[in-house]
């Protein structure tokens, strides 16, 4: 009972953030929905993908970064869709050029299209090169505590295990592995992937995650803007519950109203 936890600010690469919710920009109906949902989420860190410019098509079309301005948000470019280390490193270098020397990246190297499970071997290879090249690497990985530890030791600034497969919305599939990762954490641990609804985000935060990154749970909700707001509260509730420390679970009842003074 005496183990009340002190709140610590959420800091990445020397910058402190008020919001512990990080959101993606994929799968929305259009840029306007993206903009409004992200605003409702209160997120300050927003992930984007890097892709070939469509040559000669719709030249006047607004750019994602016109809507999600790097002046207002911390842009976190990802390497989604990369299946080997070399491709991921190239993507990060392009992203840094695109964002005028901004070093923060979300490294993800995938293994398989059906599961989008991380290829940890290629992930580690890419992380080594990127860290040496001055990037601040937030790394998407499996929920293997040994790999998580190794990535932190290498110098990744945040370790982001999946809670469930990308885009499944299955929630926190293995809270016990996450607990082990969190107990050993030497850098911020964020759940990335798997969250389906607000309670999942709360559970991740109650476990002690520093923050949660999500995309589909908001973008594929029936009402993305409302879900974005729900997620904001879910993250705050989970963080407060984590700091407050939950009551112990008991098998038998324990009356909440005093027994003295009963009319009989």
């Amino acid at each position: 009972m005496s183990q009340v936890r002190n709140d610590k600010p959420f800091t990445l690469a020397g910058r402190t953030y008020q919001s512990r919710l990080l959101v993606g920009t994929g799968k929305y109906q259009d840029l306007e929905q993206t903009r409004v949902a992200i605003e409702a989420s209160g997120a300050e860190i927003v992930t984007v993908a890097v892709r070939r410019t469509n040559i000669g098509q719709t030249p006047g079309e607004p750019n994602l970064l016109d809507v999600i301005s790097p002046d207002r948000y911390t842009i976190l470019p990802n390497t989604a869709g990369c299946y080997d280390a070399a491709e991921a490193v190239r993507t990060c270098r392009l992203a840094r050029e695109l964002l005028d020397g901004h070093n923060l990246v979300k490294l993800e190297v995938l293994a398989d299209q059906k599961t989008l499970f991380p290829n940890v071997i290629e992930t580690i290879k890419a992380a080594e090169v990127l860290i040496k090249d001055g990037f601040d690497v937030m790394v998407y990985t499996s929920d293997d505590p040994i790999i998580a530890r190794q990535l932190a030791q290498m110098g990744c600034i945040a370790v982001m295990p999946l809670a469930g497969l990308i885009g499944t919305g299955l929630g926190i599939c293995n809270p016990y592995n996450l607990r082990i990762i969190l107990e050993e954490a030497t850098v911020p641990v964020l759940v990335d992937a798997g969250v389906g609804t607000a309670s999942d985000a709360t559970i991740a935060m109650e476990l002690g995650c520093e923050a949660v990154l999500m995309n589909s749970a908001i973008a594929h909700a029936q009402n993305p803007v409302m879900m974005a707001e729900a997620m904001k509260y879910a993250i705050e509730a989970g963080r407060l519950a984590y700091l407050a420390g939950r009551m112990p679970k008991k098998l038998y009842a324990s009356a909440s109203s005093p027994l003295e003074g009963m009319i009989r």
Binding site: N63, L94, L98, N215
Partner: protein, 66 residues
């Protein structure tokens, strides 16, 4: 001369620069990044980087993703 732009062949005038290519593609002022034969071409060097036959150029931008 012929280069590969984003994986597709493209005919260009000899001596064309990266900046010239960006202008030709109507991308002036857009937030894009350029890679030439696997190396980044910093924005400050677009005007001075001359393209050559067989160059592989990638022009990328940010899109929605998670």
């Amino acid at each position: 001369m012929r280069i590969q732009l984003n994986g597709e062949p493209l005919e260009l005038a000899d001596g064309q620069t990266v900046a010239g290519l960006i202008a030709q593609l109507d991308l002036v002022g857009r937030r894009v990044a350029v890679e030439l034969n696997l190396d980044i071409v910093p924005r400050s060097q677009h005007a001075s980087t001359v393209l050559a036959e067989g160059d592989r150029v990638e022009v990328v931008h940010a899109i929605g993703g998670g």
